[in-house]
Symmetry: C2
Subunit: 542 residues, 2 copies
């Protein structure tokens, strides 16, 4: 008998809860709880550390679980059936919210197709406790997508960890389920939930010597914290290669840049494969680096004070402290040859043409520590590919939600804080989205060069599968606006320069100027794709 998705995912949820320290379950049975309750009862029979209580009145169950959690200061899980049964937990959740108790509500729910349609026992259960729960998640236990199983494994451990960290609080896990609800009992498939280990370091960390000899650090986007010199000293002392994101504030000649292009060009052969990768900072601009770590199954640790963000769900250990504290306590005996091999990557010849050459010129000619704001979409990718950080680490972007709205205004806000000239690198579509923002440049005469790469529309879509949908592509994705940048400058009374080649930018940047200036560079979307494919020489495919 092959294990079905419902049985497999439910078992993963239960094992992941157990692995996160949940030992007590208080169940109020009902039809909708069937698969979870049955597999839990089976699990409790196999694992004597699990204590299972049945309490038919959900209000009482909520408080009973609270009593266990209060006494043991452990996470305790409730399991209840759909409808008002779930609302009965509200008082216990309120008490747990204020008195910081890690109560977990597993709320089984009707499936999406029965919502808001007159189906019995169906109430809107998503986030039903509102601000009373510290965290909330939905697991679709019947989903056949293997990624959902890995999501359940990873998120359960991450969220239970978050609710047992100060200030503790409740968690709701909503479980929409459709009929048939019967799971497979006595199904023998072994369940393995990859461990996500958290080291919460309260005070200072004790010294730790890593046994791996091919350790690599990835310095991701980092707004604010300054650990560049500690990182560079560490790298040199222990021969640890540093892959530095363009937003990491640590790019410099001894750090590796442009990892995305290197992976795309298949340059990272097994000779480069680390036996441990340590990540700092937020999600890297390069999507390929996270995919590579996962596909090559390279162990990854994450170091940071804040909540772990790893949508690749591949991090296996989290050390909750600042990179600076971490670096001061770690020693590594890394292979020198391995280190040198990584260092040599910076020497690989880049064939930089087209739009990316703007980032390349900026890398050469910007005055020291110029603040640079980089738009999302193509601009940030070009910068990550070719900007080596020789002149400035002062790179900003909106990489939280990666929107293309509001970039002009954010860059102007950034530039308003300093008398020194700033730079914004953007495309024409992003410029148009926030064109109104230019009024602030006129009103406050802000010292910034806005470099507009004008490829007449959404260039990034030319790299994506929809580029082949020719009859509709330009209308829906290319969206050419035929923007007249010179007229925009005229409207907002800004200086305007048009450059034909990237090299002209060097001359323009050196002209003394005050206030805001629009610098337009005309490009072409189809040439741009070719230019990017040839970056590392040869032709690569997306």
């Amino acid at each position: 008998m092959t294990i079905n998705s419902l049985t497999k995912n439910t078992k993963h949820l239960l094992h992941a809860l157990y692995q996160s320290g949940v030992r007590h379950f208080v169940v109020s049975p009902g039809s909708r709880t069937t698969p979870v309750a049955l597999l839990l009862a089976e699990y409790a029979r196999q694992n004597k550390n699990i204590k299972l209580y049945i309490d038919v009145d959900e209000r009482s169950a909520g408080f009973f679980a609270l009593g266990i959690a209060k006494k043991l200061l452990e996470p305790v899980a409730l399991l209840g059936t759909s409808g008002t049964a779930i609302t009965e937990y509200t008082s216990a959740v309120a008490e747990a919210h204020i008195s910081h108790i890690p109560l977990i509500v597993l709320s089984t729910d009707r499936p999406v197709e029965l919502q808001d349609n007159g189906a019995p026992q169906t109430i809107p259960q998503h986030q039903i406790f509102g601000a009373l729960t510290k965290k909330f998640v939905v697991f679709t236990l019947q989903d056949e997508q293997p990624d959902v199983t890995s999501y359940i494994d990873f998120m359960t451990q991450k969220l239970v960890h978050e609710i047992v960290m100060s200030p503790r609080g409740p968690l709701q896990i909503n479980l929409p389920l459709r009929k048939p609800l019967m799971p497979q009992l006595n199904e023998p498939t072994a369940i393995i939930v990859p461990l996500l280990k958290f080291d919460a370091i309260d005070d200072s960390m004790s010294p730790m010597k890593l046994s791996e000899s091919r350790v690599v650090i990835i310095a991701g986007p980092n707004e604010g914290a300054d650990y560049q010199s500690e990182l560079l000293n560490f790298s040199k002392k222990y021969h640890v290669p540093i892959i530095a994101d363009v937003l990491s504030r640590t790019r410099q000649k001894t750090t590796i840049y442009g990892i995305d292009a290197l992976i795309k060009a298949n340059i990272l052969t097994s000779a480069y494969q680390p036996d441990l990768v340590i990540r700092f900072g937020a999600t890297p601009v390069s999507a390929r680096i996270l995919e590579w770590l996962k596909s090559e199954n390279i162990p990854v640790w994450f170091v940071g004070e804040n909540t772990l963000a790893d949508h690749s769900r591949h991090v296996s250990r989290v050390l909750q402290l600042t990179p600076t504290s971490f670096l001061s306590q770690i020693s590594v005996d890394n292979n020198a040859e391995f280190y040198q091999r990584w260092q040599d990557l910076n020497q690989k010849k880049r064939y930089i043409t087209g739009e990316a050459s703007i980032a390349n010129v900026l890398d050469r000619v910007l005055p020291d520590q110029t603040a640079v704001f980089v738009a999302n979409s193509m601009a940030i990718r070009d910068m990550d590919d070719v900007f080596t950080g020789q002149t400035t680490q002062n790179i900003y972007a909106n990489r939280g939600a990666n929107g293309i709205d509001g970039i002009i205004s954010t860059a102007l806000g950034m530039s308003s804080t300093s008398q020194k000239r700033s730079v914004l690198l953007t495309g024409d579509l992003t410029l148009f989205h926030d064109m109104n923002g230019l009024m602030m440049a006129r009103q406050y005469y802000l010292p910034i060069d806005i470099i507009v790469i004008n490829n007449n529309g959404g260039a990034i879509f030319s790299f994506l599968p929809q580029a082949t949908a020719e009859p509709y592509f330009d209308m829906l994705f290319g969206t050419p606006l035929n923007l007249n940048v010179s007229k925009i400058a005229d409207l907002y009374e800004l200086a305007y320069v048009k450059i034909k080649t990237a090299d002209e930018l060097e001359r323009v940047i050196k002209i003394p100027v005050t206030g805001t200036r629009l610098i337009e560079f005309e490009s072409n979307r189809s040439n741009n794709v070719k230019a990017h494919q040839q970056l590392m020489g040869g032709v690569q495919h997306e």
Copy 2:
């Protein structure tokens, strides 16, 4: 010209923001912003550290403020007018949420009487950004209640502190305003916002010697953390009196108990007045102690890792670390006579009669480290008044939301974690609320004595002003249910004992027994009021 509430409270808000580190304001004007915008412009003219930007497009304003906050890593405030204007901030708030930027939205709003009634530019603005904001608060700037001014002072500093602490995030301050909206300009009244100082201690704290010689520590409710021995050593070494809440897990013969009764009996004369009080833990059971600190204007510090909770708004300094770390680094040169005077308070004669004598007997006869759950309302007050903690520190209660629902189940949950007999002290009304919970006692044969003080209704209301509303009092507040506790025991198949005097409890507790037992003690609500008034001798009034 006397300053009016609108002008005064708005100035307090602006000063409190400034005091919390806000230097940049980005204003999108509109009718509803009138008072805040005008007073802000006046303030910025007086204080050159304030930088004021006007950006008429709110979407651009949101991102412009984000750009400033990103660059400076400081909290930056937006001010916008009611209606869709506020929704225009959503994209910037989303980016700030994910990338951890302390953006503050001051959203002026229509007043409550115009909500949901067809009034123009009126949308539901409370928590409008949902989970995208880390914190949310409403300030009623036109309110004449002086407490509202102090709320604005305190909460502004507390909330801005919370959003600049990791993980940083946005804050919405909603400001409902009714016409007339014109504030008083050039109004000369000096604005003083009491400073709320936060010391965020990342690693270990440096040693600190206090200059005060009459320092007192209040150990409040504390679930989990064990710092009793450190606290007692500290107290002895530096002659620092400890006022220990019954839920503090630190009550012992050298700590002061029953502070509420001592204040009520006017025993705390000026000879007892500290020059500094340091609070640990949650809100004390005694309401009088916080009122006393505030009315005597005694400086109070708060030590704790979690968010500060001080509804008296009197704490002036917060040290964010554990009591254990704090105690290890502090030294005090306290007055020995002062210390002795406080210690002598434990020798004051108590006249314990009626309901409180149950807590008194428990204090004498409980086996060592018995887990005791205490219901809210009268039971917890009695315990705080007379239980000295000689036998056990293992005291639990639901003091987050202080509900009387769910107490039976919580206590049963607590008792389920141990083979050792536990105790629950409760009144009859609390028993009735969660009578269903007794099913768990029957099903799992839980080892607990449930002591029910049966005064036939809500005894606590007899202490409150409504007790004088005789024609309605019993119906609405006394709510006598004439509960037959013996029949309840019979229904759930529990052992049952009725005691006539508290002394009988000693004998009953010593009888070997298994499973759950209901012990009923009959009381009388009017005698109970008298008994409490005479606790410290003489007659006190509420």
